[in-house]
């Protein structure tokens, strides 16, 4: 067990870490296989070495062979040197030797180190002293030293090119004779050795010569680079101090051999480990799954437990066979008042109220038999303290369908309060029912849902009010259909009384009859209300009782709360308001009468607020008279003040304010501006209305007195005119009588005196006086005539007269007086000015003023008269200014133009001139004014029309 455990633990560890294990395996495999690879490497290396040494061996053999040849050749050559040191038959032998030895290029005999004989013949070489030539000396000496053949070179040949020379020291008679040499070209050497012919691309040869003395090494083959770091094998040829190297070209040449193997190996390892991974993964996953499942189950268990424990409803796990309570949650025990311990041994039968138990059991049997899969019942439990509680139990079986019943879960909800509420509702419903039935107002309970659906169908819901109204008006058949869609759920007793149907059902059937044309409008209003989504409607309507009598009713239509969407429950109350309507009608009638009465008064009957002056009521006449509509009248408190004529405004407003404070009626007159701009004279009679001792409003009448005011004005104008005329007339007559009278009285007196005259002289005197008087009388009469003529003349000739010219003419006429008084007259009148005037009058006027000015000149100075003309206020003005005596206007101002009024002691002044002049000016429609200062001068201004 232990080992097993350990083993499973280990494997488990591995399994649970697939990647890691993979990696480990990978490494392990790598480690295992590497030696193999290494071995292979070794093998290859060995092979290589073997190969190389083989090649080198071959080369060695060849070289040796060649060198041997050379040696034998040199020996042969040396043989021909006799004891005297003379070669015999050099050429023949040499030739034979050279021809028979392809490797040898040339032979030489070098007695005493001087080349004497060569084959092929090369004259350059003859007499070349080897021993004394520095370049070759060394080697030559070495040969001697060695005592055997020594190959010099490779060195530069005199013949050209590179070659080796093999020298054999020759002794004759025990002493050094010289050398016998063979010359081998380097290429020949190479060729014969097979160095050149190496075909293997993996290696190359290098040939070196080591100078023992200097230690220098020369290389003679291409690729002279350093190959110390490469793999090579060496062949040394002591005969010439040569070394032949066989060098492998690739440093890692070997490695490249094994590279594929290596790659393959790695790949293999990798794949294997991957395979392993996937293999391992499975169990790992499984492990995880198992773990998860375990967790889930755990969680579920916890969840279930918490639900069970903390549910707000009672949950019990019950054994279906015995009825015992296996497990209950807190709520359950709380509900019933027992602890879990107590309940453990109880079955549900113990706690179920006996009246409900039978039914309960019956149902449970059905559940157990499989007839039903779930069950919900309401029953009573007995609480520990003996109270009954109503519960709603839902049973859920824990056995599968078809299985034997094992246990079930009961979910128990305390519905005691709900039941109580239900009871209460039932009770109140009964109450309501009786209220409904016995209400003194007729009540209908109706269902409008079908109607609403129909209206929705025909698309009227939500449309605007006007559209809907119009639609209903235009489609009475739709309205009829709507009536039929209204379902009456219930009507109360009063309703029955009102309509006297035989029975409720009868009424319900004949709703259509109950609604007649007059009540159609109210029904339409209901329809409109529905389309607008309103939930209340109050409307007055008529209804026909079943006996044919019409009654006025107030219909209240309201949707019961909760049914706003469906309109399933609508309460309609119809209250008989016939009596009320009648009295309403009476009131309306009397109001109308009042209104018409007020409107017939030819005046504005108004009422306004005491403080704000806003009109609360004006009658119809207000608009007729002033043109302002009643709305404008009542618009704001400033309306009244704003319509008053600006000239009267302050006076009227102030008067109103002052008088309103007194509690008496008052009236005043002012002008009002009507809407069309015309001016109205108003007589306003105002009353102050008090409520609880405080003034609240003003009431009054405004009467249009424009006509009478105008008449008044005309009258007063006429009166003025007449009075004026009268005055003048009186004046005139007075003057006339006075003046005439003075003369006539004089005549009378004189004639009386003549009678009583004592002497002729006296009589004559008196007669003369009489003559005087009668003359004067005559004159007066003439004057008066003139005046009358002026005043009554209607056919005056009017001409366009040039003022300047006329003045000049007058100046001419009075030229004598001018000269006499040394007067200066300046006529500054513009020649452009013309007036429409009577020529005689103009002449008379000008004459009068000018002669007056001359006559009444100041005694201390010469009269200067200046005539000017200008326009003043659109009127042509002629100004005559003098520097004469002047007139005291304060004393005589009003008498200036009076008749027979003189102011200066001038015998010529009769007092008529200005009077006549004024009359003439007046007759022509102008005026005259005067400014004067005594002793300074006088200025007359004549205003022409």
């Amino acid at each position: 067990m232990k080992i097993e455990n350990k083993w499973s633990k280990i494997t488990g560890w591995f399994i649970s870490r697939p990647r890691l294990s993979t990696f480990i395996v990978f490494l392990a495999l790598l480690v295992l296989i590497c030696p193999l690879v290494l071995q292979r490497y070794e093998i290859i290396k060995e092979n290589r070495e073997q190969e190389m040494s083989n090649i080198l061996h071959v080369v060695q053999q060849n070289l040796n062979h060649s060198l041997k040849n050379c040696y034998t050749t040199t020996i042969s050559l040396a043989m021909i040197v006799n004891d005297n040191g003379e070669p015999e038959n050099f050429d023949a032998l040499a030739k034979v030797l050279v021809e028979s030895n392809p490797t040898i290029d040339a032979v030489q005999l070098v007695p005493n180190g001087i080349i004497k004989y060569t084959y092929p013949n090369n004259p350059d070489l003859i007499d070349f002293d080897i021993l004394n030539t520095k370049s070759v000396r060394e080697e030559a000496l070495e040969t001697i030293q060695k005592g055997k053949i020594h190959f010099a070179g490779p060195l530069k040949l005199k013949q050209g090119g590179l070659g080796v020379i093999g020298r054999l020291p020759v002794y004759r008679k025990g002493k050094f004779w010289g050398f016998s040499a063979v010359m081998v070209r380097l290429e020949t050497l190479f060729k014969s050795s097979g160095i050149n012919s190496i075909k293997d691309s993996r290696y190359y040869f290098q040939f070196s010569k080591e100078n023992p003395k200097t230690g220098r090494t020369e290389f003679f083959l291409p690729n002279k680079e350093n190959f110390a770091d490469k793999y090579f094998q060496v062949l040394s040829i002591p005969d010439g101090n040569w070394k032949v190297y066989l060098i492998s070209k690739n440093k890692y040449g070997l490695i490249s051999e094994i590279r594929p193997a290596l790659v393959l190996t790695v790949l293999f390892c990798f794949i294997f480990s991957l395979f392993l991974t996937s293999l391992l993964k499975k169990p790992a996953e499984l492990q995880l799954l198992v773990h998860d499942q375990k967790n889930k189950i755990l969680n579920d268990e916890i969840k279930f437990k918490s639900i069970f424990d903390h549910a707000a409803v009672g949950i019990a796990h019950v054994d279906s066979r015995t009825g015992c309570l296996i497990e209950v949650n807190d709520q359950y025990s709380r509900m019933l008042g027992y602890t879990f311990e107590e309940m453990r041994n109880m079955s549900f039968r113990d706690i179920t109220y006996k009246d409900d138990l039978e039914e309960n059991l019956k149902q449970l049997e059905r559940l157990k038999s499989g007839e039903i899969r779930e069950l919900t019942i309401e029953k009573r439990y007995i609480h520990k303290n003996g109270n009954l509680i109503w519960v709603n139990i839902a049973y859920s079986p824990l056995w599968q369908e078809g299985e034997e019943p094992s246990s079930h879960i009961s979910i128990v909800e305390d519905i005691t309060s709900k039941r109580e509420a239900e009871d209460a509702i039932r009770k109140s419903e009964i109450r309501f029912k009786s209220l409904f039935e016995d209400s003194p107002i007729a009540l209908w309970e109706e269902d409008f849902s079908y109607l609403k659906n129909y209206l929705e169908e025909i698309g009227l819901i939500g449309k605007n009010r006007e559209e809907v109204k119009a639609f209903f008006d235009a489609n009475p058949e739709v309205v009829q259909k709507c009536i039929t869609l209204v379902k009456i759920i219930n009507v109360n007793n009063e309703c029955l009384t009102l309509h006297h149907p035989k029975t409720k059902e009868d009424l319900i059937q004949r709703l259509g009859d109950v609604l007649n044309n007059d009540s159609m409008d109210s029904f339409k209003a209901q329809l409109v209300a529905i389309t607008q989504g309103e939930t209340r409607l109050t409307i007055d309507s008529k209804v026909k009782k079943t006996d044919g009598e019409y009654r006025d009713i107030s219909l209240r239509w309201s949707v019961m709360p909760g049914y706003e969407e469906t309109l399933e429950r609508i309460i309609i109350s119809t209250e008989d308001i016939t009596a009320r309507k009648i009295s309403e009608e009476i009131v309306i009638q009397s109001q109308k009468k009042m209104e018409s009465l007020i409107n017939t008064i030819d005046g504005i009957v108004w009422e306004c607020d005491y403080n704000t002056y806003i009109f609360t009521y004006v009658n119809q006449k207000a608009e007729e008279i002033t043109g302002y509509t009643r709305e404008e009248w009542c618009s704001d408190g400033n309306f009244w003040a704003n319509t008053i004529h600006p000239d009267d405004k302050t006076r009227a407003v102030n008067y109103c304010a002052i008088e309103s404070k007194k509690s008496q009626q008052y009236d005043f007159e002012y002008r009002m501006i009507a809407k069309n701009g015309s001016v109205l004279w108003i007589r306003d009679i105002v009353n102050v209305i008090y409520e609880n001792g405080k003034p609240v409003s003003l009431k009054g009448i405004m009467i249009d007195i424009t006509k009478s005011k105008e008449a008044e004005k005309d009258l007063s104008n006429s009166l003025e005119l007449v009075t004026e005329q009268n005055k003048r007339l009186l004046n005139f007559s007075y003057i006339v009588s006075h003046n005439l009278r003075s003369h006539t009285s004089n005549i009378q007196s004189i004639s009386t005196l003549i009678e009583t005259a004592e002497t002729e002289e006296e009589r004559n005197e008196l007669v003369k006086m009489l003559q005087n008087v009668s003359n004067t009388l005559n004159e007066t009469m003439l004057n008066l005539n003139e005046v009358i003529n002026i005043q009554t003349n209607i056919n005056l000739i009017i001409e366009n007269l040039n003022i300047k010219d006329n003045i000049d003419r007058i100046i001419n006429i009075v030229s004598e007086q001018i000269a006499f008084k040394k007067a200066v007259i300046k006529n500054n009148v513009s020649p452009e000015i013309f007036v429409k005037y009577n020529p005689a009058y103009l002449e008379s006027i000008l004459l009068n003023f000018i002669s007056n000015a001359i006559r009444y000149c100041h005694p201390e100075r010469n009269p200067v008269i200046i005539l000017n003309s200008y326009i003043e206020n659109d009127k042509t003005v002629l100004e005559i200014a003098d520097n004469g005596l002047g007139i005291d206007l304060t004393k005589y101002g009003d008498k200036l133009f009076g008749m027979y009024k003189t102011f200066h002691e001038n015998p010529d002044s009769k007092g008529i001139g200005l009077f006549i002049t004024k009359n003439q000016i007046d007759a022509m429609g102008g005026t005259v004014s005067v400014e004067s200062e005594p002793n300074i001068g006088t200025t007359f201004k004549i205003y022409f029309k």
Partner: protein, 129 residues
Amino acid sequence: MNQIICLIDDDPIYQTITKKIIHKSEAASKILSFPNGAEAIDGLTKLVQQPEEFPDIIMLDIEMPVMDGWNFMEHFQKIKTIFPKEVSVYIVSSSIACSDKERSKSYNGILGYFTKPVTLQNVLEIAKS
């Protein structure tokens, strides 16, 4: 009687006539005359120093230039205090207007109103009173 009568009238003919009549009546010892009210006031003022020249009776016309009768009366009332003697003023006018008559009554210096023509009887009446 030797009263000094003063005529104030602008009509020279009337003055002449009236002087004649007064002569005939022998009511006055002396007759003064002024053509208008202004001169009359001036003259009377000057005569204040001479009481024996001062008139006792004034016969006053109404319609006169420069200063008419009523104006004269105004001034007369003002300077009455400096007069050396009581002067009886009578209005003699050709006006028959009631208003003039009424007006004359308003002046308490005016003792009578006569309309022209003045007769001998009128003068005697004046002189008597």
